[in-house]
């Protein structure tokens, strides 16, 4: 296993799109994989992001790690802003 280093740029996986299961005899569509948009009543699109956790440091967090728990996902414009 490669030891994780805190490099300056560590791309997170971003949205995780399930691999389409190839159907025999049907060639996969050439179009890019359809992005699933978030909607109420539908499954939340999974993703992986690098994160800072106070007391733990840097780690990668996947939304699906929190299955079985209620989650509040909060987006905001930026650190060190005012509201």
């Amino acid at each position: 296993m490669v030891k994780e280093v805190d490099s300056c740029v560590q791309p997170a996986a971003g949205p995780l799109v399930p691999e389409p299961t190839p159907v025999e005899g049907v060639s996969p569509p050439e179009e890019e994989v359809k992005m699933v948009m978030a909607r109420v009543g539908k499954e939340a699109p999974d993703f992986e992001a690098s994160a800072y956790v106070a007391g733990e440091g840097f780690k990668n967090v996947k939304l699906s790690d929190y299955r079985g728990q209620w989650v509040v996902l909060c987006f905001y414009p930026g650190d060190f802003t005012f509201v």
């Binding site: 800072y52 699906s64 079985g68 996902l73």
Partner: protein, 137 residues
């Protein structure tokens, strides 16, 4: 949030390094010990795009808030433009209402403004046209 068994994840387009310093330098002066939940980095806004909150002109995620249940289903969302902050009391009320509905297996629904302890509604043939009998705002 901890009492409600809810995990909070915050997301912005800042790097995790910025998150660390913001928490240490500023947030820790507002909240004892700094904020306890993971601060996620969405550089490039790809996660925000999928959640419909990424503003590609400004290059930031606007204020979007999603309540996700233990099955991974989004139960509620609220999106605000940047200058107006959120109301945590309403978030908590919604979480309690969704948790109540889930605990009843969906047999009960909560009318507008419901808070725990108040009357709920039991949707079904007997209630149609008779909500006025059991619930008045």
């Amino acid at each position: 949030m901890k009492e409600l068994g809810v995990e909070v994840l915050s997301v912005s387009t800042d790097s995790r390094f910025t998150h660390k310093i913001w928490n240490e330098v500023e947030l820790s002066k507002m909240v004892e010990g700094g904020i306890p939940f993971p601060m996620l980095s969405d550089q490039g806004g790809r996660i925000g795009t999928v959640y419909g909150v990424y503003d590609e002109d400004a290059g930031v995620n606007i204020r979007g808030r999603f309540i996700i249940d233990p099955d991974g289903v989004i139960q509620a969302m609220e999106v605000l433009t940047p200058p107006v902050g959120r109301n945590p009391a309403e978030l908590i009320r919604q979480i309690k209402a969704f948790q109540h509905v889930r605990a009843t297996g969906g047999a009960e629904a909560t009318p507008s403004g419901w808070t725990p302890g108040e009357k709920t509604l039991k949707p079904g043939p007997d209630l149609v046209g008779k909500v006025w009998e059991v619930w008045k705002p």
